[in-house]
Each structure stands twice: as structure tokens, then as C-alpha cells.
Point group: C2
């Protein structure tokens, strides 16, 4: 294959569109605005003091493994440190699937899974959610094809915000012979986590991130939890240095500030209820009850046009297409009251 | 494939061994000790002040692209930002090769290439260096097999430290129809760079890192330079956020401190000469003249035993096996004089 053909192949794979300019009120990326910037900067200033940018990360990575394990109540050898959710998704797709094999997803799901599969020539296999947006384990397991190598379930799901029934997720893990990834990026905002089940289910992998409840989206830090043997095998294929030493130290710092994290989660949940009640009072709005740090809803007017109107007012929300039973919707990050108040005002204006 | 088979497959791929405890004098990872830690911390403190750890990296990545392009004298659209050399190597192997296809390397080379290929089921194809350790383009091109999809050349080479002739590297790029990656991690310590050739050679990709001359090994930051079309296609498959926002801001800061970087490179080169002259006076030592920030040499006594003796004294150096014409050697990072003086004392003791 010459370089011209290579270029055509690469260009066909392109998964990302460029960002554009920054909105005034950014409610499209589920960042954590309940943790005050000044407090976070304070932690970061301290994390920096113990860093040496000249040296590759060393023992701080194992310290973080231990701190995470302690917080979750698992063993340290069940934890695999990574450089943000995307890095870990790439690692799993790369090391657990091969071109021509399939990655089965309950759709719609976090877009990165399709991108990671497509760049690697892995087949994305979809099992569309039923209109009630819950997980039917037998339906998902029935969608397993001969070449399906891995199943991924985002739980709570993105973009719906629904956390599936715990028993239903476990049934999928028990009913599939290969690895099952449960992406718990939003689990801190939900009702439960499956991390405690990893030691008993050797094909279960849980992905967690510091980008949401821990407020470190800019730091690119995440981790996997799995049974000791699977976790050890995954550490064996993980990069030597997947995360910055400053990021790791900042992760360690946040593990010492879990009361601050928990308190911010609790404030978000209150604001989520209030937002839900206000949204439901807007005529024509249909809202999906959320277990995440965002709320997805349908408006009577076309979602894309409302998104554009909000954007013109400096408010960015995410357009999510093709939610079963609803069609195109908007997804808005739950943020502190002043931002929600302005969002609601602009939304009412856009709906006119 | 069930989870037991999956585990066996993963375990067979394992590319990394765990680190062990930190040595007193660390001369095994080619970190930059010529940039004083206090100065680097000062830059990092400032970089932090403009960061918001809660938010995903935004426009700072494009600013860095522009600053790098300006420094190198290329166009900003020729630059692809990444999260350290490993992240970029993974990206290239993933997006440019498929299982069963081949990645051809001049060996010995940086170990990460074999690891990245093996995890993806890509065939590592070796063209061993001739005993004079130079690049013979026709010999390398003769090693191209029917399934060879990419060639990689580390230049200056790691672990030899030799920078190949510019014309020889270009002949490889011109003689191969697919993509050629030239890894210039150490080029700041060498005699030339090929970045200026990318606009004219559409199959050439240059990998550069902030980990060496720019002193940011801990920050996980690197980039690719290529022709505009190839660079754009690679940005299309790159992760949205491959590097931490603090790392990107720190990269930007170092781009404003290029005089400090250049001055440290110049001091390293002086120290490298001095080290070379001292090493060559030790009976039985054979040294490879280096264009990098390390020196690789052979001792009369077995390399592994000398490494162990140095390690017992708290001095870590890298054991490199199977250098053509020399066999097993030791690789030592060039560091400021007090560290080199102690290294030489301990080495003489170990050989004594």
C-alpha cells in the first residue's frame, strides 16, 4: 500500500471534528463546576511542589493504585492506572480485539467506542436500547455474534443518563464468555457501582475516570478495576507512563479530599432534581430521569435548531441523535444554580 | 474466545516489567538533569496558574501547535500534538498497520516499537545494523517484505546514540512507498533534523518529544511533524485530548524558554565530550561516539555484572544487549559533572 492509499485509508477513519471557539457557558462536556476552581488550583499548586517535571513518573503511580483501592474497598492489584478514559478505551480495544472481530455496544453509547473500534478495523456491533431505555440482558446477549469479542456497557449510560438495574448488568457479565467492560465514568452520580463484583467475575472490567466527580478533566487520568489476574495482564500491556506525574499527584491529592468530592456530588444531585422539576414544567419538554451529572431531554421544536439558538446566546449543550422512543435530544451538564438559571432562561427564550 | 483464553493471550503480550525501587543516581532513562529542577518548578508553577483542572484541554493545544511550528520553521498544520512518544507510537502503529502486516525496524532500536507492534498482532521485522552501526539505505530497503507497511528509524538511534547520515535516511524515505517514521527524540543533541523535509516528502513522519531536551519526561508530551495532508489525517485519528492541559501549558512555556533549553543542550554536549574522553581512558572500554544525551559503551567485564555492581552502589545504568560488533553494552545518561564524576568513580571501582 503506497502513501496515497494510506492517506485515503486514514482520512476515511477520521473520528474527530475540531472544537471551534469556547462558549460563554459550557454545558456540553459534563465537566464538574461544583468543585470551585480556586480550591482545585490550591490542590494543584501543592501537587506541583512535590513534582519533578524532568523525571518520568515513578512510584507515585503505585501510590495512586493503593489510594484508589482503599477508597473503593478492593485490592491494589485490581487497579490499572491510565491516562484518561480515552487512553484506556484505546488500550482495551487494541489489546482485547483484532480487526474483523466485534465490539458489541448497547446503543446509543459514548461515541469514543465506535471511533476506537473503527480506527482499529474492529467491527462495531449495535444492540439498540429499547424505548424504555433500560437494559434487557437477554436481548443484549442475543445480539452476540460469532465474532463478538467484547461487550461494553456505559453505566450510567451516556447520553441517556440512565443507570441500568444492577442485576441486569451482572446477567450480561455472567452470560458472556469474553470480557465485558462496564464504563462507570458517571457512577459517582448513580445509585451503585460494580467495582465490588470484580473479584468474583473474572471477565468484568470497570472503567473509571477522574474527569467527572473528581473534577480533573484537564489532567487526563483514569483507571480500570478488574479481577487480580485480568488487571495484572492489562497492566502488562499498558504503557509504562500513560499519565503525567503531576496528574497522578493531583489524583492522589483528590483521594485525600474525598469529602470535598462527595459534598460536590451531593450538591449536584440536589441541583439535578431542581433542574428536572423545572425542565418538566416547560411545555413539550420530555426529560429522561438521570443518574449522571447531565440531563437529556427532548423539546417540541427540533433539537438541532434549539442547540443553535442556545449557542448563539453563548450556551453550549450537546445534541444527541436517535434516542430510542424520543429521537433527537439535547444533553445539558448539571452545573451550579446561577448557570442553570441562565440556561433555563435561554432555553425558554429559544423555545419561544 | 472465552475469558481464560483471553487472559492467556493478554499475558503472552505483556511488554513491560515493573520498576523496582528508585536509585540514588539515576542514569538509565535519559532524563534531562542539565535543566535545574528549581527553574523547571518555577515554570510549572506559572503554567498551573493559567490552568483549570476541571475543564478538558481547549485552545491551548492549538497554541502549542503554532508555537512548535514557529520554532521548527514549519506550518502549524504540519504538527500533531500527542501525549508523549509512547502515545504517538501507539497511535501510528494502530492507525497505519493491521495485524499480519509488518513494521520494519533497523535493530537494535527503541524497545517500545516491538512492544506496540506485538500488542496489536503486527509483525516486527528486523534489519540488524551493520557492525559499523551506520545506516545502509539499500540494505534496509532490501529488507522490505511484501507485507511491510511502515518503516521506523530512530535517529539519533537509541541505544547506540549514532545519528545516521542525512542522505541515507532520505534515501529510505524516498525508496519506500509507505509511511516512514523517523523518531527524533534525541535530535536536539545531534547534528541535524529532518523536520524541514516533511513538506517535500509526503510519506515522512517525524516524532519528537518534550521528554529529553525540553526536560518534561514527567509531563507526557510529544508531537509529530509531517506533510500537511498526512498530519491532518493523523490529527483525525488522534484522541481528542491526548495530553493534560497542564502539560500543554508547560510545553508552551518551554517554547518561550528555548534559550534555556539550547544552553542546557550545549552544556550537555561539552559534558558528553568530557565523559567520552574519560571513558576512553579506561582500559578495555570501547565507546560508541554519541549524537544523543547518552553514551553507550562496552567494558571488558560482562556488562550485566558491571550494571549489577553499579546498582549496588546506587547508580543505575541501562543494559543494552546485542549491539552488532560489540555485544552487550551499558548505556549511561549524560548528566552534570558531579554525577558523571561519581559515575566514573563507581565504574572504575566496579571494573577494578
Amino acid at each position: 500500500m503506497n502513501i496515497g492509499e494510506t492517506l485515503l485509508r486514514l482520512e476515511a477513519l477520521s473520528g474527530y471534528s475540531s472544537g471551534g471557539s469556547a462558549p460563554r457557558i459550557k454545558l456540553d462536556a459534563n465537566e464538574n463546576l461544583f468543585l470551585p476552581r480556586e480550591a482545585m488550583l490550591g490542590y494543584l499548586r501543592e501537587a506541583v511542589e512535590s513534582s519533578d517535571p524532568r523525571l518520568y513518573p515513578a512510584t507515585e503511580s503505585e501510590e495512586l493504585q493503593t489510594a484508589i483501592a482503599k477508597r473503593l474497598g478492593v485490592d491494589a492489584d485490581q487497579v490499572v492506572i491510565g491516562g484518561g478514559g480515552d487512553q484506556l478505551i484505546n488500550l482495551l480495544v487494541t489489546s482485547l480485539t483484532r480487526p474483523g472481530e466485534g465490539l458489541l455496544s448497547l446503543t446509543p453509547t459514548f461515541s469514543m467506542y465506535k471511533v476506537a473500534a473503527s480506527i482499529r478495523g474492529v467491527e462495531s456491533q449495535d444492540c439498540p436500547l429499547a424505548p424504555d431505555l433500560t437494559l434487557d440482558p437477554s436481548r443484549l446477549l442475543a445480539a452476540v455474534a460469532g465474532n463478538t469479542r467484547m461487550i461494553e456497557i456505559v453505566n450510567p449510560n451516556n447520553p441517556t443518563g440512565v443507570q441500568f438495574e444492577e442485576g441486569a448488568v451482572k446477567k450480561v457479565v455472567q452470560g458472556f464468555e469474553g470480557p465485558v467492560l462496564v464504563d462507570e465514568a458517571y457512577a459517582d452520580y448513580g445509585r451503585y457501582s460494580l467495582v465490588g463484583c470484580c473479584s468474583g467475575l473474572e471477565n468484568l472490567m470497570i472503567l473509571r475516570t477522574f474527569s467527572k466527580a473528581y473534577g480533573l478533566a484537564g489532567m487526563r487520568l483514569g483507571y480500570l478495576v478488574a479481577g487480580p489476574r485480568l488487571a495484572s495482564a492489562l497492566r502488562g500491556v499498558q504503557d509504562l507512563y500513560p499519565a503525567s506525574s503531576v496528574s497522578i499527584r493531583m489524583g492522589l491529592r483528590m483521594m485525600r479530599e474525598t469529602h470535598v468530592v462527595d459534598e460536590a456530588v451531593s450538591r449536584l444531585k440536589k441541583e439535578r432534581s431542581r433542574l428536572a422539576s423545572e425542565l418538566s414544567q416547560i411545555p413539550g419538554v420530555v426529560m429522561i430521569p438521570s443518574d449522571a451529572n447531565f440531563v437529556t431531554f427532548k423539546t417540541q421544536a427540533e433539537a438541532a435548531s434549539i442547540q443553535a439558538k442556545l449557542s448563539a446566546e453563548g450556551v453550549s449543550v450537546r445534541l444527541v441523535r436517535g434516542i430510542p422512543g424520543l429521537g433527537d435530544c439535547l444533553r445539558v451538564t448539571v452545573a451550579p444554580r446561577p448557570l442553570m438559571a441562565e440556561f433555563l432562561t435561554r432555553l425558554r427564550g429559544a423555545l419561544g
